[in-house]
Amino acid sequence: MNQETVTLIQQAQTGDKQAFFKLVELYDWQITANMLQFIRQEDQLESVYQTLFNTAYDKLHEFRFDRDFYVWLYPILFKIIFNTPNTEPINSKQDRPLDLLSHHERLIFILIHNEKFSFKDVAIILKRTKNFVRSTFCSAVEKLHSNTVRDEA
């Protein structure tokens, strides 16, 4: 985290809303690109964007400068996505294998398979049991495997 970001966070923590807004401008492209891995409907994307940064504003006083601001936002983002109501992906043709998965399966699969989080960390982030994460992840892998087998046939 560079000095500019640290200063912006410190100013935002004292109540400087303009500083917080600059912070949003620094991070929202990266965060939104990450959201697109999980959400493909624009209205949901808007809702998650607004909820995330409003929550971040409310919780900013809890930020302790022991990690990057982006890393701090990560669990908040995943918790919001996890609690976003499940809807079908925008592309009904399901041209991507991950579109076969349910909302929770997709999120947990991406966190573990792509983002390399441990099962334990995912359980902590999503405030679910490790068994739930294991079971959902296995279910996701089984669906993806069945799809691959079907395609080959």
Binding site: L45, H61, R67, L98
Partner: protein, 325 residues
């Protein structure tokens, strides 16, 4: 004998978990035994690996500039309408009248917090600027070369709290293990100054709540230590984990002398901490040495605390102090 479907399903799921090193030692041993005699299972693992490889994720979508501009505009509106500080909430009930003090409002709570904050910070600055003889410097404490090297590693940042592990030995000493430092182990009693400093270092700097809790538990065995007291106060006022804050305030309550810094920290916790039990503990410590300096805070708490029990206890203590004075 062909396994039933439930067993097959469980084996297949364990095969997936094994690919991600997610099986515990016992589960892994059992699975490996099944795998050795089950060719279908081996084939399934190969197929799964192939499937996972074929769904390798490609980030093919990027956010549009239009979307971001639109969302920033909406966000700006909602942020502007928020209160400036989290702890100034309009939902806090205002007190219209009070028998002794009539100016109480949420603003009073803020002023009290600010004054207490300034006093605590000032006291700590004076303490560290003009250290007294009971707090020897780190260099003078490092009599042994091992201790010097450990302290040097900590001071230079080579030894982060996450690189320090400790456990209790059978002889009652604490055994430290260091990774990434010149010294790999160190055994000493809990009341050794270096051990105390290491425990305080972990308590104040580790990102792992389990480690911090482990440290604060060990510090319970070091009574009336100045370094411990400072670390416990900082923890009480800043640790995000309520269990650790609770343990800290309970240890502060065990100090023989409740000095002005402990008192101020308890006052701040009583006004500001979200946890009912911590506020109750703070009130309990303050009630051991009641005096009229507590009056303004007790007046606020007895009226404004969200917890009925804390309010009633504060009112009771307030009554006692008023009657005595």
């Amino acid at each position: 004998m062909k396994p039933d479907s439930t067993q097959t399903k469980r084996l297949k799921r364990n095969a997936i978990l094994r690919l991600y090193n997610e099986l515990s030692g016992k589960e892994l041993t059992k699975f490996e035994k099944s795998l050795a005699i089950n060719q279908d299972l081996q084939n399934y693992i190969n197929e799964i690996q192939f499937s996972l490889h074929s769904v390798a994720f490609v980030a093919d979508e990027i956010p549009s500039a239009h979307f971001l501009t639109q969302q920033r505009s909406v966000l700006l509106g909602s942020i502007k309408s928020k209160p400036k500080h989290k702890f100034i909430k309009s939902s806090v009930p205002k007190i219209v009248s009070f028998s002794k003090v009539s100016i109480l409002s949420s603003r009073v709570r803020l002023y009290l917090l600010m004054i207490l904050g300034i006093l605590i910070v000032g006291t700590l600055i004076i303490k560290f600027t003009f250290p007294n003889t009971s707090m020897p410097s780190i260099t003078s404490l490092a009599k042994k070369p091992t201790e010097y090297k450990i302290r040097a590693s900590v001071d230079s940042g080579l030894l982060s709290p996450e690189n320090i592990k400790f456990s209790r030995t059978q002889t009652g000493e604490l055994s430290f293990e260091f990774s990434g430092a010149e010294i790999s182990t160190y055994n000493e009693k809990v009341n050794n100054p270096l051990v105390v400093d290491l425990l305080c270092y972990i308590l104040l700097n580790s990102t792992n709540p389990g480690r911090r809790l482990q440290s604060v538990k060990q510090l319970a065995e070091v009574p009336d230590n100045q370094t411990v007291k400072d670390a416990l106060i900082t923890t009480l006022l800043s640790d995000p984990n309520q269990g650790i804050r609770l343990k800290s305030i309970r240890l502060l309550g065990e100090f023989t002398i409740v000095d002005v810094v402990i008192k101020q920290a308890c006052m701040k916790a009583l006004l500001d901490d979200k946890n009912n039990t911590i506020r109750m503990e703070a009130l309990s410590i303050l009630s051991n040495e009641p005096d009229d300096t507590l009056l303004p805070i007790l007046q606020v708490v007895s009226q404004m605390d969200e917890n009925e029990f804390v309010r009633s206890e504060a009112a009771r203590l307030l009554q006692e102090i008023v009657e005595e004075t």
